[in-house]
Symmetry: C2
């Protein structure tokens, strides 16, 4: 049971936009047991689209195509699909009335012939009604294989995937189960780890795949199993993890939750009615954006102060000038004061702060480039940690954000009733 994703549109190929649609679709298909073997981005060009459809047909059971469904000449996907399936366009009255309604309600230009053409759809396609836009999705079947065409506008594509495509795929196909389990290790390089695991790795069953994912100080080991018996699959993977413990138990620091770290923090805070604020310096709001991203985050995440300038630390975060003069702005004292004060000012239960030199220049402090302090304020008190994270700006910021999120999860958990 394999799938491919095809995105159509020059925007991706000239680097004007990043292709987030494919990533979303791949993740959702993976969750329901459909493995994506290839993602292909092609330009708005007839022959290239047709040959890509044919190549995908040779390899995959399901092909999801996004983009190229607009009303203008550069949008070719519908015509290409029509040609590929040797089909013809027929007027869909329901889609037509929907497009007319959208024009009446939201669009202040008159409904035109080109809009009318969007209601003409291939006769053999099941129409996937798009309540957010004028381009309908389409579902085709050919020789036991499924082709789905979706608009490229992300929120229209997402709604169609969630409400129609995924349920329909689940009905249409018997799918294997895909189980991922990711073990987090800390303190051993990727290659040393691989040497230590050589024998264990060679003896993995052939339906289990192992990937090494090194990332800023940690190596995550992702085990992926595919099979028709979920219980047996989970049992095998659990046994493999147990055997891993007997080989490298001392460096295993945890498991990656299905949920991202910001969602885990959110769940813990929301379940106990606790709240959180942040005070960021060189991380520029990245920790806050992460914390704010889960749906419902406004219930526990109260906000952030991003203080690039030292004067903002004084004026907004009320860090005494004396403290900064005595210890410098990049210091454990300032990190702790930032966390303590933002917790008090925002009236929250937890707060996290960052201050540091990410480079390329030293900025307002004399500390070595790459030196950062993370401050944490919890109901139990305030402390800070110092890290020296190298001399590559992007890397320093990335590592500091990761570290902050980890410390925060640890503290939120430690201070929760569950841990108690």
């Amino acid at each position: 049971m394999t799938a491919e994703i095809i995105t159509v549109g020059d925007e991706i190929l000239i680097g004007q936009i990043v292709d987030t649609n494919s990533s979303f679709i791949a993740k959702e298909l993976d969750k329901i047991g459909i493995a994506v073997h290839q993602i292909t981005a092609v330009e708005d060009e007839r022959n290239h689209i047709l040959s890509t459809l044919e190549a995908a047909h040779q390899r995959a059971d399901v092909v999801i195509i996004t983009g190229g469904l607009g009303p203008t000449k550069d949008d070719l996907t519908k015509d290409c699909l029509c040609e590929y399936f040797d089909d013809e366009l027929v007027l869909n009255e329901e889609v037509l009335s929907h497009i007319k309604l959208l024009f009446e309600k939201y669009i202040d230009t008159p409904f035109s012939e080109l809009n009318r053409q969007q209601a003409f759809l291939p006769a053999s396609a099941d129409v996937l009604f798009n309540r957010y836009g004028t381009a309908a999705g389409m579902w085709f079947e050919k020789e036991g294989k499924v082709y789905v065409s979706l608009p490229g506008v992300p929120f229209e594509m997402k709604a169609l995937m969630e409400e129609q495509v995924l349920p329909k795929l689940q009905e249409s196909f018997k799918r294997p189960f895909i189980v991922h389990k990711t073990v987090i290790t800390y303190g051993m390089g990727e290659s040393s780890l691989a040497e230590k695991l050589e024998f264990w790795e060679e003896n993995l069953p052939d339906y289990i795949k192992l990937a090494y994912l090194p990332n800023l100080g940690k190596v995550r080991l992702r085990l992926t199993g595919r099979g028709t018996n979920l219980e047996q699959l989970e049992d095998t993977i659990n046994k493999l993890v147990t055997s891993l413990h007997s080989i490298i138990g001392e460096i295993i620091v945890g498991y990656e939750d299905e949920n991202s770290i910001e969602v885990q923090i959110g769940h813990l805070l929301a379940s106990e009615g606790r709240s959180l604020a942040t005070a960021e310096s060189f991380t520029g709001g990245r920790i806050g954006s992460l914390l704010a991203s889960p749906p419902g985050a406004s219930n526990y995440y109260k906000g952030t102060v991003v203080s690039y300038a030292t004067s903002v630390k004084q004026d907004v975060l009320e860090i005494p000038e004396k403290l900064i003069q005595k210890h410098s702005v990049v210091s454990s004292q300032v990190a702790e004061a930032m966390a303590r004060n933002v917790k008090r000012i925002f009236k929250t239960d937890f707060a996290i702060s960052t201050t540091g030199n990410a480079g390329p220049t030293k900025g307002d402090s004399e500390e070595e480039i790459g030196t950062v302090f993370i401050g944490i304020a919890t109901p139990a008190g305030v402390y800070s940690k110092k890290f020296v994270l190298g001399n590559h700006r992007e890397k320093v910021i990335g590592k500091a954000v990761n570290k902050s999120m980890e410390l925060l999860l640890e503290e939120v958990f430690k201070n929760s009733e569950k841990a108690g």
Copy 2:
């Protein structure tokens, strides 16, 4: 002169990460006149990698491959390239000493046999020395076509592209010029616009391509020309834009700068030594993150206060409780007070604020979902604008961020000496 990009790695295919590498590479190639015709993401699987290399060979002159160069068993790219080019691995002493040095300086596990293997590289490849990591890049030539293999770690890939691959491609190939010009229109739907431009579009020279890019209220028209004579190409495109003016002049609001809007704002502020702060509510720090992203942003961007909770607006942004009670938190009065106060507190020349209901629920206000206010404080005064942006949360936030950046650019320009 065409290129393809191949990314190797299961992370992308299971949706664990978004492929930003391809977007970066595509943009850089486009800048030097190399058009990317396809981007393909494939799993870590030998046959699939080999058949993808062969398929790319049929279509493209340049193939850039990223990922799969790590030291562990799941990293197959180097072996596949070796097989594809019928080559053998030989030890590169320079790379070996570099890897050893990295281990001594930064990595606290011992150098191992697997690390040593990273210094074995295909005999026919030109080695692209990677100063940030242990995986060297490789440059192959076959039948007049170029293959470049780069590590998947973004900052290592970027450094190799900028410092070695792009200059080498520029030396190796005669490339056509690629000129993009994007005209921004406002107030006419994509399809009405296309009808109006039908005759004009049909008479475009065949080396000029037109794309319609509708995005949250605006339609951008991107003209792309390819040719060997830059002057002539630019001249043709300028004439086409002039003729566009005679057809739809009344809805043309400007041209897209090569630079992103945040970079344009940054250039204006930096050149006049002026500064900026933000106060965000439902946009959750997204405006601040954008403004903070250009290199050197800390010179003019002082920071942000993200206030999800009404209480934070009172305590941190010093918005009087009375004002909120009288006008509600989603109001022009509160938006203006937020902008005025954050400008004062952060001691900046400009400030922008957002307050609104993005949905799905009404939150702290009675305003209809989709209603937002953007406040702007400039050296000349304070005002706000109201927008009603629909009922789709993601869309409301996206539109409001776009609107805010546009208003800000307008105001920064109006208040600059250049506009003088």
